[in-house]
Symmetry: C2
Subunit: 381 residues, 2 copies
């Protein structure tokens, strides 16, 4: 808990919620009759509304990307390393909007919300939402906020996919797309890990086919396992080796199945903490959004054709030890952007931090990100 | 089911079981008062008992390494690609012994066996067994079979760890150690994956703290998840991509949480099949044997010092896309062997098959293995 907030922080922030009455036709064919979107903003919108930045979150993220909700909050928002005065996404220059995606569990309408048609919690009846659907919902949010064109749309991992989809589906409405630690589609291995996570949740007897609230329970063990598997894929072998190696929990082995190594203890702690704070149905939904994402699919599988639609400029950043979405995957995107004749800056950052590196202020990453965003600011401010 | 057995097969084989009355003091401090070891043999022991080869199995392996138990058996033993007449481990030249390790669930004494002291199934009371313990039990098996010195001890993955431990603990009793797709110790990431597998099993309500037989159930969901996670680590991203890519199960997406992609279907099938055929307590035990393995530990963490004890020659093979036990890990072993002044042949095989490559007859792998084993045969036959 900071006694005073750091000066490079956006400070105290209060989430807001907007209600949307117009039904949203989803990619699945289902329709969401109405919904709320919860979001935060940092900085001030300028007079011609040209300095707005949209932040898109990843699998377990939410609208709280920077600053503090109260003086008692121990940790700032999830991307505080990159958002704030003097940081790459500079709140002194930009008006920054960060929302909780539809289907989320932190304020926006999702499986934990009340279905106004039935008066009951949606639970498993909440429809599957895709990256394309999110983009449509974000367009409506932009409309309500009076933002005709985003200076940039920025995201890491699943967030980068949203930036990419925006550039293809609404080319006139963004100046730049920053696609960080991301990929134009999941690999079979990525889908396989997601399937293990889903199976862990759905096979937990406390899941009750998604209606766990009706049984006054949550599938905590399943969610914990899902997070443990996910967490391993966010870290590099190298980072885990440096952090834990084979460090033992006790002086001598106990020769049993309780925790023996520090890495086990860490992983159990991460899984437990997450399982207390995240909704299982939302986790299923987010992993499926990842699986389905494939913007080339509508263009006969040709990513180049999809990207030809884009009018914005691109920043693509990958991280050397990210084995979830490896630099090779970013390079595929970059190559197709080049073939499509787009303006793209690409850098691979050398770091031991694996996929999570997009959250960590490695100096070269911040320098590159700063330089690019300075260019964006000069265009619009 | 073969109507006639392939000529390059060891043919029909019948497992045998030997009983051991002498108590076995385990690394954990516990004592196993008596135990059985189930094994198979292929080929004939020569007059001076110099042509014997010991095969050590990996996590989910057993004694049935080659040939068929009956004409009805659909698939041969797990390493039939490398064991048989004309194959690298040539049954026309060698007397090959393959056992089910102590703690296993395919004949040798393990958690599914009756504890003769109580008359009840061991279950979770079966003591944790380590690679060192296995080697001691294998020494006793060698003694009973009249084998003073193995021509070679050979294993892949966890099997390679046993070959390595033999070379250090009983240097006079083997001529060669073949350490394939293995590592001198697990990394933090390896341990983390094992912990997820264990947690999947132990958090399944059907686990009943290991006493599932008493409840007429098995923790099938947990075992399935454990296998699914494991299976992903046995395959390479590349191999999964080639085999499945993003192939869909149906013509169009259903936008739900049932199987959508072929890779999900495959993984679920593998998990289910395994969960019907393997014991959960044994799975815990095998993963712990992997975690604990670290022969350098007794030598102040110096692998070179441990390896100086060895008198045998070494064959080390790694596979380019094995990310479970990567070529770098084999190279660490090779470098320490060289520093210790040992005779070592090393090759990295270029293959897309990941960790499972040690089971697949890639031509260059088989050539190298053949050439090395030909040298072994010429020394002893």
């Amino acid at each position: 808990m900071p006694e005073t907030l750091p000066i490079e922080s956006v400070g105290l922030v209060t989430p807001q919620t907007l209600h949307f009455d117009e039904p949203l036709a989803l990619q699945s064919g289902k329709v969401l009759p109405q919904y709320d979107l919860t979001y935060e903003t940092y900085g001030e919108l300028n007079q011609d509304a040209s300095n707005a930045i949209l932040i898109c979150h990843a699998l377990s993220g939410n609208h709280h990307a920077a600053g503090y909700h109260s003086m008692e909050e121990k940790k700032p928002g999830w991307w505080d390393s990159c958002i704030g005065p003097g940081k790459p996404i500079d709140s002194a220059r930009f008006f920054i909007v960060s929302l909780n995606n539809l289907g989320g569990c932190h304020g926006s309408t999702g499986p934990t919300s009340i279905n106004t048609l039935t008066g009951e919690t949606y639970g498993p009846d909440f429809p599957v939402v895709t990256v394309k659907d999110w983009v449509v919902s974000q367009v409506r949010l932009a409309d309500k906020l009076g933002i005709q064109k985003w200076a940039a749309i920025i995201g890491g991992s699943l967030g980068g996919m949203q930036a990419l989809q925006w550039s293809i589906d609404y080319p006139e409405r963004l100046g730049h797309a920053a696609v960080i630690a991301s990929t134009p589609k999941l690999s079979a291995q990525n889908i396989a890990f997601n399937e293990v996570a889903r199976k862990a949740i759905t096979s937990d007897p406390a899941f009750h086919e998604g209606r766990y609230f009706d049984h006054n329970t949550i599938p905590q063990k399943g969610l914990m396992l899902a997070r443990m598997v996910g967490h391993i894929t966010y870290l590099s072998d190298e980072a885990m080796g440096e952090k834990f190696g084979r460090d033992m929990r006790n002086k001598a082995f106990k020769f049993g199945y309780d925790v023996e190594f520090e890495v086990e203890s860490y992983l159990n702690y991460q899984g437990e903490r997450f399982s207390e704070n995240f909704d299982a149905n939302t986790y299923l939904l987010m992993t499926r959004a990842l699986d389905y994402f494939d913007p080339a699919k509508e263009y006969n599988g040709l990513l180049e054709s999809a990207l030809k639609k884009a009018l914005c400029k691109f920043l693509v950043i990958s991280f050397s030890t990210d084995w979830r979405f490896s630099p090779e995957r970013s390079e595929i995107l970059v190559n197709e952007l080049v073939k499509a004749g787009k303006d793209v800056c690409y850098t691979e950052i050398d770091t031991p931090h694996g996929h999570d590196a997009f959250l960590i202020p490695t100096p070269r990453y911040i320098s590159v990100f700063n330089a690019y965003m300075d260019r964006v600011a000069k265009e619009v401010c």
